[in-house]
Structures are given as C-alpha cells and as structure tokens.
Symmetry: C2
Subunit: 247 residues, 2 copies
DNA sequence: AGAGATTCATAACGCAGGTTATAGACCCCT
DNA sequence: AGGGGTCTATAACCTGCGTTATGAATCTCT
C-alpha cells in the first residue's frame, strides 16, 4: 500500500495532474520503512513535532490520555494513511500515536513535507485534501458521540472500517481482521468495554455482525449502512473540479 | 476584526514573513462584506461548495441535522474566524452553517483561495495552520463528548469561548455576551436543553458561572480552567519555527 | 398594550449505559 | 504442560442524563 495508491492521489493521477516529478516526490516520502512492534508508541502527546508517517502495514491509533484516568482514541489509521498531519502547524503533538499490532511505517520530516509543498502545488492540494478527509471522519465520529446510541456508534464504526478496508483490498467475503480489543473500541466510541461487549451481542442477535476473536464479518453490510444512515460524502473519491487547475 | 488581525497572521507578520503583497492578498478576501440576519442560513449541508467566509461581526455555527431528528452543532464561529475551510477538498458541504445573531460576513471564492495559495506560500501555510487549529478545537470537543460528564463539558465550552473572546477583545471584567440558547448549547455538547439548564444551575451554585440571559460572567476563570484541565496547546499563538522558512 | 412564541427553571420518572464482580476462553511465557 | 495475563460474556446494581410536564419570565409582533 503506497501513498501513490491512496484514493486522493489516484484521483489526481487519473486527471493527469501528476507529473513524473510529482510521483518521484511522493514516493520519496516512503524511502525509510521501519518495522514497529505491537503496542509501540510512535510518539507521545506534547512531544515535539519532528516527523510524520505513512503507514505501510498494520494498524495504529491516535489517542489522548485524560486526567480522569480514561483514554479517548481519536482515530484509527490503516495502511496507506498518513499519521501526524493533525499536528501540522503546531510545535507539539496534540495526541499520542501507538501501533495496535505490529507493522511497518515510513517516517518523513517536516522539511520533506515543506519541500513537497513548494515543489508541487498539485501534491500539496492532494495531501491537504487527504488530511481534510481524515478530519471529516473525526467530525463524523463527533456527531456520533454527541447524538447517537451505543449500537449506532458501534455499527457506524464497524461500517466505516469496512469501507476503508475494502478500498485497500483487506475485505474478504464481507469479513476482515480487526485487531482492536473491546476496551480500545470503547475508548474510541466513548463507551465502557462492558457495554461494547453487550452491544456486540445485541448486533450479533440481530444478525448484523458476527465476530470470532479478531475476525469480524458483516453478513449484510447494506442493512448496517441503513441502520447508521451512512454519510459517505466524506469518503468520496473524487476531488472537486477546481483541483484540476493544478497542472 | 480583520483576518490580518487574527492570531496566526499576526504571528506570521511578527516574524516578517508577510510581504506587502501578502497583506494585500489577504485583505482582498474581505472586500465584499454582507450583512446577515439572526438565524440566516449561509449554506445547507450537501450544497455545492462555492465559497468560504470571513466572519466580521456576529456569531455563526456549523451543524448537522440528523436522521433521528436531533442536531449536532460542530463549531461556533466568532468574529475573525474563517467559515467553510472544513469543506476545502470536497465538492459538497459536509455541514450547514447558520448565523446565531445578526452580523457581517465576507464571502470569498474557491478561486480566490487557490490564487492566494499559489501566489503566497506564507499565507497558504498561515491559512492552513488556522484551519488545523480549528480542527484541533473540534478534536478537543470530541474528547469531551466521549469521556467527560455534563458539567465538565459545559465548563470547558464556556472557558474556550472565554479565551477566544478575550483574544478579540470581547471580554469585559470576566463577562461576555453569549447569544446561544441553552438548546443550542445542548446541541453542541450532546446534551438535552433541560440538562444544560440543570448544569448551569449547578455551576452557578458552585460559584463558577453566573448568567443573566445573554450575559455570562466567569467570576473565577482559573478555577474553571482547573476543573476542565484546559489544554491550551491548540489555542497557542506561535507557529513552529519551520514556518518561518516561508519568506 | 396584549397575545403568542421562545426561553428558562425545576420536578418527577424512566432507562441507557457505567461500575463491579465472576467465570470461561484464549494468549504468551518458560 | 502449567501458570499468569489478557480478553470476552453475562449478571446485578446504580446513576447521570433523557423525557415529559408545568409555570414563570422574556421577547416579538401587531
């Protein structure tokens, strides 16, 4: 899963907006792969912002540890995602990032990113659009935390993962591997681990989700999508026409 | 309240990163002021993205109307804020925006923004940093929705408004005007209007907040800040050093 | 000034989801 | 293979917040 294969860049490429130099620049972000172990912390909250990362293999999550002892997981990152763009424009990290399972990440520097911005407005627009899309997913979760019940939050969470995994070819017969524990899912959805378990049982009884350890199957993804009225504007693949002016 | 006075731009200006042309470009975003009435909808969710806005006077909010009949307010915009950057990179609006009270906004086009990006990398970086800062505030609210109780959410909300208003000179003796109804506050914090009322009473009884209609006073802002362990990284005024490479 | 619409405070009641506890299943280590 | 740790399921109990209701205060419109 290279960045060049990611949705936005594919979109730019399709419109002929990417030159050979652009492609070289973006591949340049992935020259230093690093193997990382399960649970490894890539950086802590408040650490200095010294790099960003492309996830090549494995899952990661960004999180905040709170004063009351609990944790809020902000976002789950899958292969092909860029980690850390949230902190662009800040001198310190707003959130920690840790690996869920083992994997491979490609760190790149602030400097490389600036370089890329200056040398290719098309890539800059693409990377910004990607970052904005990630923020849109966060916003969607904010809506769910504010106004939906536990079963809707979980259904939405699983369906979003399903869509994102599908796009990187990690879904097989409506099933996928899900390395998050119920505790971690709870930390993402603002629920207790116990209630996540209850809610899984409920969705199972309704035939919407089956699960065996780390393997999740959505027997009827469309039914799940109807339940959560999934808004897929924010996962849409096309960039607005104005972006094509960047030749 | 002009954009040039906004925190990030002030930061850039202080470092001498802004040329005269830069300043002209950014003032160019505010050439078409438009008076808007209380409750006026600037755009609806799913509308085509045709413009962005600088708020000159009055408060606005972005929101999502949900299938279950409720509303989630995503963000409150104060004078000096840019509205709509959330939708940059999308062809359709992810959220509606409406005025809370009457005011003045300055719309500018997608085209103007691109123009500015191409002609001034320094301004581009500044505007992106501003947008990222707004997203950071959203993230902070997500954390509060996920993991904090009603009184902490409300205290945090009020304290954030207090800080933001202070920076634009709209706080007088720890008091400020707050045109949001309790229903709207509830829609922002994921609470019912009734519970917002209860929670206000609670904070009042503890001497943390007094309120008379639209006028809110925080008798002891520091006590409030302690209660919510306010994380002001995301409101920090300085840009990281790397941004100064944009001369 | 009077009528209707908003907004707000407070009370009564119910339930979704937090908390604590227990036990079984699976994992990793030596 | 056995022992400790983690993860999950389910139950029992409790509470924070939603819901509905009512009355008072304030705003808006004519």
């Amino acid at each position: 899963m290279t960045l060049l294969d990611s949705i936005v860049m594919q979109g730019l490429g399709k419109h002929g907006a990417l030159t050979a130099e652009d492609k070289a620049l973006i591949l340049g972000l992935e020259l230093t792969p690093r193997r990382v172990s399960a649970g490894e912390v890539l950086w802590q909250e408040s650490a200095e912002v010294d790099m960003f990362c492309v996830v090549k293999e494995g899952w990661a999550y960004s999180y905040r540890n709170l004063g009351n002892g609990s944790m809020q997981i902000l976002k789950v990152y899958l292969p092909g995602d860029i980690i850390g763009m949230r902190d662009f424009g800040f001198s310190r990290r707003l959130a920690g990032v840790a690996m869920i399972n083992e994997g491979v990440v490609c760190p790149f520097s602030h400097q490389q990113l600036f370089e890329l911005f200056v040398r290719s407005p098309a890539l800059a627009a693409g990377i910004i659009a990607t970052a904005v899309r990630q923020q849109a997913m966060l916003t969607e979760r904010l809506v769910y935390l504010g106004r939906y019940a536990a079963h809707e939050r979980l259904a939405h969470f699983l369906y979003e993962l399903y869509l994102r995994l599908q796009r990187i070819g990690a879904v097989d017969e409506n099933g996928f591997s899900m390395p998050l524990s119920q505790e971690q899912i709870g930390d993402a959805l603002g629920l207790s681990a116990v209630h996540v378990s209850r809610t899984f049982s409920m969705l199972r009884d309704e035939g919407l989700v089956t699960r065996d350890r780390q393997h999740v199957v959505l027997p009827d993804p469309e039914a799940l999508a109807r339940l959560v009225e999934f808004n897929n504007t924010y996962i849409e693949e096309t960039l607005p026409p104005a972006f094509q002016s960047f030749h």
